[in-house]
């Protein structure tokens, strides 16, 4: 087994997360975004704050399920969850739940650096070979893919806007630390401005 390609250890990871996220959000239009706690939030915010971003600062493991609830509530809108491998590992059962529901408008983009960067760069399970792409495929998520190049990132961006989900994209990024750029931590504010975008008080 070619571990570098399938499991996506550090050797395979040359993409930079701060280049990947702006490419995913390029010409985002009405895209609804949920970002998992830690670096994924900083990456989403660094790409430009937006009222259609819902940043998580806790509840680790919940990002994909928030994306599912949102995708089911707004079937005409496209929903992108951006999270890390550690956050996704904690909510791995939600991939099975998404596989049952088959939401065409939901993409989960995992920025897989194979480490827990928030807590001191300890290795995660994906360092040792856990493939979130394989897990998602096993859960019936048809669009389960590994991504290693910016061309593939650009293609994913287009797929998201076509509503070709459910997708789980395991994007292999290098485990380098970027400057922290911190979005609001006020959950009520983030909720209200997000709902206002969709016409709710």
């Amino acid at each position: 087994m070619d571990h570098a390609r399938s499991g996506g250890g550090p050797a395979a990871a040359r993409l930079k997360r701060r280049e990947v996220v702006p490419a995913l959000l390029h010409n985002r239009g009405d895209l609804l975004v949920v970002s998992g706690l830690g670096s994924a939030c900083y990456d989403a915010f660094a790409a430009g704050d937006h009222p259609r971003n819902f940043y998580l600062w806790g509840a680790m493991g919940s990002a994909a399920m928030i994306g599912l609830g949102l995708a089911l509530a707004q079937p005409e809108q496209q929903v992108l969850v951006i999270t890390g491998d550690g956050e996704m590992l904690m909510g791995m059962g939600s991939l099975a739940t998404i596989g049952v529901q088959q939401p065409a408008n939901l993409t989960v983009a995992v920025l897989d650096n194979a480490h827990y960067s928030e807590t001191g760069m300890q290795q995660s399970h994906t360092s040792a070979g856990t493939s979130l792409r394989a897990v998602a495929a096993g859960c019936g998520i048809g669009g389960a893919i590994d991504i290693h190049t910016m061309q593939e990132v650009a293609a994913l961006r287009d797929q998201i806007h076509r509503g070709a989900g459910p997708i789980l994209a395991c994007i292999h990024v290098s485990p380098e630390e970027d400057p922290r750029v911190l979005p609001s931590r006020d959950g009520v504010y983030l909720k209200l401005r997000f709902r206002e975008q969709l016409g709710f008080k």
Partner: protein, 173 residues
């Protein structure tokens, strides 16, 4: 043979009139009838979960997307939700949970007692208001009151359906 209790369909009526559109659940014998009613309702999306904590994310996502939802779980599942409930409190998300109790009246399985005996206190510690239904006649009114409090007040409310109300689990036929 005991007649089919009416309270599950009464709960379904309350959920329907409250415009609940997503129902997250982990399969449970006490909720079996209500789960079927929600699955068969074209205006509701029944979402089977692998663990109850997924439901807290589901409710949060549904609400920021403009839909009301509810969760059906057993008392053991409440323990699985504890950290995720921070979402509800920090973002002030309306939450309505219907909990079938285990570990109390006529329980035969001691493994259900530890969580069942602290379910209400755990919810209260997490900022969730609790109502408790002991008798079938009070279920509809309590669930309606909980739904009103949750959805009109952006608050978290759980209704505990007591084990006496649900009835003894039939292990042998």
């Amino acid at each position: 043979m005991t007649p089919t209790p009416r309270w599950p369909s009464q709960i379904h009526d309350v959920l329907k009139s409250s415009d609940v559109r997503q129902v997250g659940y982990v399969p449970d014998a006490g909720h079996a009838r209500l789960i079927t009613l929600c699955q068969e309702d074209p205006h509701m999306r029944a979402v089977v979960l692998t663990t109850e904590e997924e439901g807290i994310g589901l409710v949060t996502g549904a609400w920021i997307g403009g839909q009301r939802s509810t969760l059906l779980m057993q008392s053991s599942g409440v323990g699985n939700c504890v950290n995720q409930l921070s979402l509800i409190r920090v973002c002030r998300i309306p939450l309505l949970i219907l909990v079938t109790m285990r570990g109390e009246f006529a329980e035969f399985n001691p493994w259900q007692v530890p969580m069942g005996s602290i379910t209400q206190q755990s919810l209260n510690l997490c900022g969730v208001t609790t109502y408790r239904a002991e008798h079938a006649e009070e279920v509809q009114e309590l669930v309606q009151a909980a739904a009103d409090l949750a959805f009109n007040g952006d608050l978290a409310v759980a209704v505990l359906l007591s084990q006496r109300l649900i009835g003894r689990k039939q292990w042998t036929k």
